[in-house]
């Protein structure tokens, strides 16, 4: 073994190429699936409307006489924003989960389970109930940025606090993190409960709306906010992917390899809070996307964050668009809150992960 180092001999093709190729192909496949899923979701709903007609109308292939104004209204004003917002919310939640799991070095970290969503919810509730009293008079109705911003701050405080509580000497105990997340979540929820108690009727309606988790209030302003946050995050995250990979060996080892660990963690916490906060502000508490999506991806393309993060954005978008389609059609014309659908699918999945790798809770 000592002596001359032998290199070469097809080693260029050995090792990674195939796992990377699988990952790249999977990402392409997910992109195609997302387009198909969004198209299918546009066709699903309580009232009938021909997507084909509307698309031909958009493309200028047919005049306005070939399509009913009602169809254009349903597709363009109601379903399209909803489908696009669903995709963006799913992407934000799934990427948040993947990043949290990366910095906590813990496959069970999730914005919902770890109390970040609850913290964001508290921020949003504070604005809805107290915003009128403490700040601009029309802040709730007129200022579409106040809600995401408050949710972001709530999420940031919760994530930061959680990290402080769950990490000792650069190591995160999985049990401590989950338990601290439960405690923080309960605390945020009880504070939210107090706000409910203080709220008037109109505020109660607003609170209930996002508490159940719904994409029903989709509009282009919310979509623009979400898209902005997602775009900034997905621009920053590729620069962190190698560092997140290194972090899988522990903070000390990542530091030894030249990763600026503290700066990266701080950036990651801000990104998670921004994405979760914005998602919660526009759609309420939609759980389990952040844990299910990265897990499925690690099983299929491996844990490399260079592929995991974009993959999570795509698969998260797909799953939430499909969940929303199910929510709209299962009991049509009535509509199930989407949070119920994701919990119905996600909770058993979470239990399955726990049973499959019980040992992860042992240290």
């Amino acid at each position: 073994m000592s002596g001359v180092v032998e290199t070469g001999e097809g080693s260029m093709l050995g090792g990674f190429i195939s796992r990377e190729a699988v990952a790249v192909l999977t990402l392409c496949g997910l992109g195609v699936l997302l387009v198909i899923g969004m198209g299918m979701s546009l066709t699903a709903g309580a009232s009938s409307a021909s997507v084909g007609n509307v698309i031909r109308y958009w493309l200028g292939l047919s005049g306005s006489d070939a399509v009913a104004p009602r169809e254009i209204l349903i597709i363009q004003q109601i379903r399209l924003p909803r489908v696009v917002m669903g995709a963006l919310v799913g992407a934000c939640l799934a990427v948040s989960g993947a990043v949290m799991q990366g910095i906590f070095r813990n496959p069970l970290a999730d914005p919902g389970l770890a109390g970040v969503s609850a913290g964001s919810g508290l921020g949003a509730a504070t604005i809805i109930v107290l915003g009128g009293a403490i700040a601009l008079p029309q802040i709730v109705t007129a200022n579409f940025l106040a809600l995401p911003l408050a949710a972001f701050i709530g999420g940031l405080l919760t994530t930061g606090l959680l990290y402080q509580l769950a990490t000792r000497k650069g190591r995160t105990s999985i049990a401590t993190m989950l338990l601290a997340g439960i405690a923080l979540g309960a605390l945020a929820q009880s504070a939210t409960g107090i706000l409910f108690f203080m709220a008037d009727d109109r505020q109660l309606r607003d609170l209930n709306f996002w508490l159940l988790g719904s994409l029903g209030g989709a509009n282009w302003l919310k979509i623009a906010t979400l898209a902005g946050v997602l775009a900034v995050s997905m621009t920053v995250l590729p620069f962190m992917a190698a560092g997140l990979n290194a972090l899988a060996l522990g903070e000390a080892a990542a530091g030894h390899m030249g990763v600026p660990v503290e700066r990266m963690k701080a950036t990651a916490v801000v990104i998670v809070a921004a994405m979760t906060g914005t998602a919660v502000a526009v759609s309420g508490g939609i759980g389990f996307v952040g844990i299910v999506v990265p897990h499925i991806l690690r099983l299929s393309i491996g844990p490399d964050h260079r592929f995991l993060l974009p993959g999570a954005a795509l698969l998260g978008a797909i799953l939430l668009v499909l969940a929303d389609a199910v929510a709209r059609t299962l009991l049509a014309p009535a509509e199930l809150p989407i949070g119920i659908i994701t919990a119905l699918g996600g909770a058993p999945f979470f239990l399955w992960i726990l049973l499959r790798r019980r040992s992860v809770l042992d240290f």
């Binding site: 050995g14 190698a242 990979n245 060996l249 690690r298």
Partner: protein, 273 residues
């Protein structure tokens, strides 16, 4: 000659002082072994030198103040093999080894893949690059980490001067054949002009491979020098508080036989001359 030096190193853990104003130096082209009983401060010393722990005092690497170096600058001149590394997600051995190139200068993908394969081969794990690390044995996992560390500082001498391989108990989880192989690798690295600092428990391997041994006890250095100078019954007994009898192996070098309580020698001062 280049050195890693530590001057007046104080490290505390809460109220307890782990290192008491320690001075230490390691020269390039040599294997410097730090030995001593459990809790003597060996790992703490290595972690302070690696830039992992807060300390009072000063550490210089190749004459540069370590506290003024950025993480990536440190990573370019020294790599650290911890006692144990837990990998969180199901990475393959090849992926873990490639992490050693995270901040490296090798941007060419083919070159990087070649280096990964070469590093795995260097530690006797050729063909392991697609195996999931979790599924390997403890010794194999440790060697995967060694390959990663090697990738980080592949050439023993760089533009900035010699590079440093810092290892905390590198052979503890290995069988005897791989223990020797890792020590040979360290010797090659030093022979190539690089520096090696290793925390070791195995006194025989230390005596066999070290150019310089520094014995620690209770957060201080109690003896240092070449193996012939410090691997003596007096020093060993003072350091480890138990009877140890150095002797000469058939050819050259020094080796140490642990003595069971029943066979305590009457004459503890029997030293290798």
């Amino acid at each position: 000659m280049h050195m890693i030096t530590a001057k007046g190193l104080n490290v505390r853990h809460g109220q307890k002082a782990i290192l008491h104003g320690v001075d230490f130096q390691a020269r390039s082209g040599e294997i410097t072994v730090v030995a001593g009983p459990n809790g003597s401060g060996k790992s703490t010393l290595v972690r302070a030198i690696s830039g992992e722990l807060a300390f009072e005092g000063s550490v210089t690497i190749n004459g540069v103040d370590a506290s003024a170096m950025k993480a990536w600058e440190m990573a370019a001149v020294r790599a650290v093999l911890p006692q144990e590394t837990l990998v969180t997600f199901p990475f393959t051995a090849g992926e873990v080894v490639r992490l050693g190139l995270t901040t490296g200068i090798f941007s060419n993908r083919a070159v990087r893949n070649q280096m990964v394969e070469a590093a795995l081969e260097r530690v006797g794990l050729a063909g392991f690059s697609r195996r999931i690390v979790h599924e390997l044995s403890g010794g194999e996992r440790q060697r995967v980490q060694l390959a990663r560390v090697l990738c980080q500082i592949w050439e023993p001498v760089g533009e900035e001067g010699p590079r440093w391989l810092i290892m905390d108990e590198p052979v503890s989880s290995l069988d005897v054949r791989h223990q020797l192989a890792v020590m040979e690798l360290a010797r090659d690295y030093a022979a190539g002009g690089g520096g090696v600092i290793a925390v070791m428990h195995d006194l025989n391997l230390s005596a066999l491979y070290a150019d310089h041994i520094a014995f620690m006890k209770d957060g201080r250095f109690v003896a240092e020098g070449t193996p012939a100078e410090v691997v003596t019954a007096e020093v060993l007994e003072a350091v480890f508080d138990c009877a140890l009898k150095p002797g000469l192996p058939p050819r050259d070098g020094i080796f140490v036989l642990p003595q069971s309580a029943a066979s305590q020698p009457t004459n503890l001062s029997l030293a290798a001359e």
